[in-house]
């Protein structure tokens, strides 16, 4: 019971800790302004003060009194269907945390790789991995879909929208340059 409460208040404690740290940082904002006038630290301090107050309220409410219920907005009071009305199809109950972690890991790796390997060499494997991790396992479909999609995006952004996508560093940039040449991008 106690660990359940701890779990419920954990997000509020985390936000409270970050807000307190930021409030400390807000006190160190340097500025020059006429005396008697509120400075650039006023607004963030006010927002952080309110954030801390709301977090403390939730922590006390859940931690001391075990109350999880909170006032709801207007929609929450109107979202009850009339008696006997059809309800939305319930979602499938299974959870896939490993897939989620792999997807986050692949996304972080992609973000790190893009400036090094360039858009093409980073995006093609990322798309393929994302689709595969997402549960679609037919490799003869996954690989061409990822490759075709990457090339289409390259073509659109290089030739139509004129957005300069990362070409990467040597030796990977030579692949990007080759593709640019093939697509007629100067």
């Amino acid at each position: 019971m106690r660990s359940d409460r701890m779990l419920r208040i954990a997000p509020y404690v985390a936000v409270l800790a970050i807000a307190t740290y930021l409030l400390h940082k807000a006190g160190q904002i340097d500025y020059f302004g006429p005396p008697g006038r509120i400075g650039p630290d006023f607004w963030p301090k006010m927002v952080l003060g309110l954030l801390i107050a709301v977090c403390l309220y939730e922590i006390v409410k859940i931690g001391l009194f075990g109350r999880d219920r909170s006032s709801g907005g207007l929609v929450s009071t109107m979202s009850a269907p009339p008696s006997g009305a059809a309800e939305p199809e319930p979602p499938a109950g299974r959870s896939y945390p490993l897939r989620l972690l792999l997807a986050i890991g692949a996304t972080v790796a992609y973000t790190a790789l893009v400036p090094i390997a360039g858009f093409f060499l980073a995006t093609f494997p990322y798309l393929a991995v994302f689709i595969y991790v997402g549960g679609y396992r037919r490799l003869p479909v996954v690989v061409p879909v990822a490759l075709f999609g990457t090339l289409m995006m390259l073509f659109f952004f290089w030739r139509v929208a004129y957005v300069s996508l990362p070409i990467g560093r040597e030796p990977f940039s030579s692949v990007s340059l080759l593709l640019m040449q093939a697509m007629g991008v100067r």
Partner: protein
């Protein structure tokens, strides 16, 4: 008369090939996005934005507005046919729509939806054209206290009108407001929360927050559920059958109530199609001629939410165009498109760029009709998108998010921010913190802070001026009522329940009490 002449010119612009093409593409994309349960209307508009960077301003605005409009309509199809709402706003539609479909009246339910979207959309478009210029003229007289009051009202209403916990919505809003403070402030030029990262001096682009929290966050949430969508029922014949004139006339007050509700809710910054849809259904439950039959598969249960959802688009565009205040995620993206092309929506836009504003207005009229024509003939075809593997669609959604975030400033730091906000969006969804207040906090935060600071500087730190000026005072009082209402409503309801229970107890055990 001047308005009509501008509107006529707007129609001429809309029928130019490039603009008409953008309109059609926007409508089809909006309909597709609304059909797919994993993609929301706002996400769709967000994902389309990078593709408009190199378009000229009119087709870019027309495309995004058309997506916004169509996004309020097609989710009804899956709601009615498969009991799977394409968008949260489509939940009230299935209460009666799906029941009608189960009773063998699916075609008629789709017909009512089409007519409701047509009526609601056109009514709101007429209101929008009629009201925009007068409101802009009034807005010209506004000063910073009035603007701050309106923004404060928007920030408060996103908390008090939404679903879920009010305290979580507040936390989400405050986090959004804090994200908006990162960078160099406008008045003193002081660096705030940049932690030595040079790119953070320019602040965090609200588009990155939106794309990350709505796009990547939603995909990660669905990834955790294995992209397992509900098995769809087989629907052999998807067709639309329009109701008879007699039936329409019998439900005329529902059409009118729904449209007005949608426009009014749309006007409120922070409220949108979902709130309009629920509020309209709730109003019908209270005041409808057929209120006792709601939930059993009656047309009023379809007309009320659908007219309100579609008419909220016209309502939401009014504060954007007349005051430069985006009241929802979708209008914030449209504002972003305006700004990218060097145009600042607001009262002056009617003087500086009337041709663009009226082309946008005219596109709404043409778009509504076009959307209904496409809906009538191509619903069956568009619903087929549900057969497409979600893992593939989601991979491309994430890729569009990356491209959108990168193309805005050509910065890899924005990709890291996108990933971070994607994970934050997932965590918010997981822990039941609403994302809309976070996003609106990021969008409206800088405007609210600038107007607050200007007010304080102009009136010698006298915050009471917000309450003593007639317009700002009225709006501030309304905001406080909106803020206090959800907090007190629960307490009052609990008290009433306790009283009722005590009363019932007294009547069952009178001797014990006496």
């Amino acid at each position: 008369m001047e308005i009509l002449s501008h509107l006529a010119t707007g129609f001429v612009h809309v029928f130019e090939p490039a603009n008409l093409f953008a309109l059609m593409i926007g409508l089809v994309l909006g309909l597709l996005v609304a059909v797919l349960p994993g993609l929301t209307l706002v996400m769709g508009v967000v994902l389309a934005l990078p593709f408009t960077y190199h378009m000229s301003v009119t087709p870019a605005i027309i495309l995004l507005t058309a997506m916004y409009l169509a996004g309020t309509y097609a989710g009804a199809w899956t709601s009615i046919l498969f009991r799977v709402p394409g968008e949260p706003m489509d939940v009230p539609l299935l209460w009666d729509g799906y029941t009608m479909a189960r009773n063998g009246q699916a075609a008629k339910a789709l017909g009512w939806t089409l007519l409701a979207a047509l009526f609601g959309g056109l009514t709101a478009a007429v209101f929008m054209v009629a009201l925009a210029q007068p409101i802009a003229s009034i807005a010209l007289t506004f000063s910073s206290p009035e603007y701050f009051a309106i923004l404060f009202f928007g920030l408060v209403s996103v908390v008090s009108l939404g679903g879920g916990s009010v305290t979580n919505a507040f936390i989400s809003l405050f986090v959004g407001l804090m994200i908006a403070t990162v960078g160099v402030d406008d008045i003193y030029g002081a660096e705030r929360f940049t932690f030595g990262v040079p790119l953070l001096s320019d602040g965090i682009d609200y588009l990155v927050v939106m794309v990350g929290a709505y796009g990547v966050g939603e995909v990660l949430s669905r990834m955790e559920k294995g992209f397992v969508s509900t098995a769809l029922e087989k629907v052999s014949n998807v067709r639309t059958q329009l109701p008879r004139l007699r039936e329409v006339l019998a439900a005329r007050m529902t059409f009118v109530r729904g449209s007005i509700t949608g426009i009014v809710v749309g006007l409120v910054p922070g409220a949108g199609a979902t709130i309009a849809s629920f509020v309209s259904y709730g109003t019908e439950l209270q005041y409808g001629k057929n209120k006792k039959a709601l939930g059993t598969g009656v047309p009023e249960g379809i007309v009320a939410p659908q007219t309100a959802a579609t008419s909220s688009v016209g309502g939401a565009l009014i504060p954007l165009i007349t005051m430069g205040i985006p009241g929802s995620g979708a209008t914030a993206i449209i504002l972003g498109a305006f700004l990218l092309h060097g145009l600042q929506p607001g009262p002056q836009v009617f003087q500086t760029s009337p041709q663009i504003v009226y082309a946008m207005f005219a596109s709404l009229f043409v778009g509504i009709v076009g959307m209904c024509v496409i809906g009538y003939f191509a619903a069956k075809l568009l619903i087929r998108v549900l057969d497409f593997p979600e893992a593939i669609v989601s991979a491309y959604v994430v890729m569009c998010c990356f491209l959108g975030a990168y193309a805005a400033r050509n910065s890899v730091t924005d990709l890291w921010l996108l990933t971070a906000f994607g994970v934050l969006g997932y965590l918010f969804e997981r822990l039941r913190f609403p994302i809309t207040p976070l996003v609106l906090g990021v969008i409206l935060g800088p405007l609210a802070e600038t107007n607050f600071m200007t007010t304080m500087v102009s009136f010698n730190n006298d915050w009471t001026v917000l309450f003593t000026r007639p317009i700002s005072g009225t709006i501030m009082v309304l905001s406080i009522v909106a803020l206090v209402y959800p907090l007190t409503r629960d307490a009052l309801q609990r008290r009433a329940l306790r009283r009722r229970a005590l009363h019932a107890d007294r009547s069952t055990h009178p001797s014990e009490i006496s």
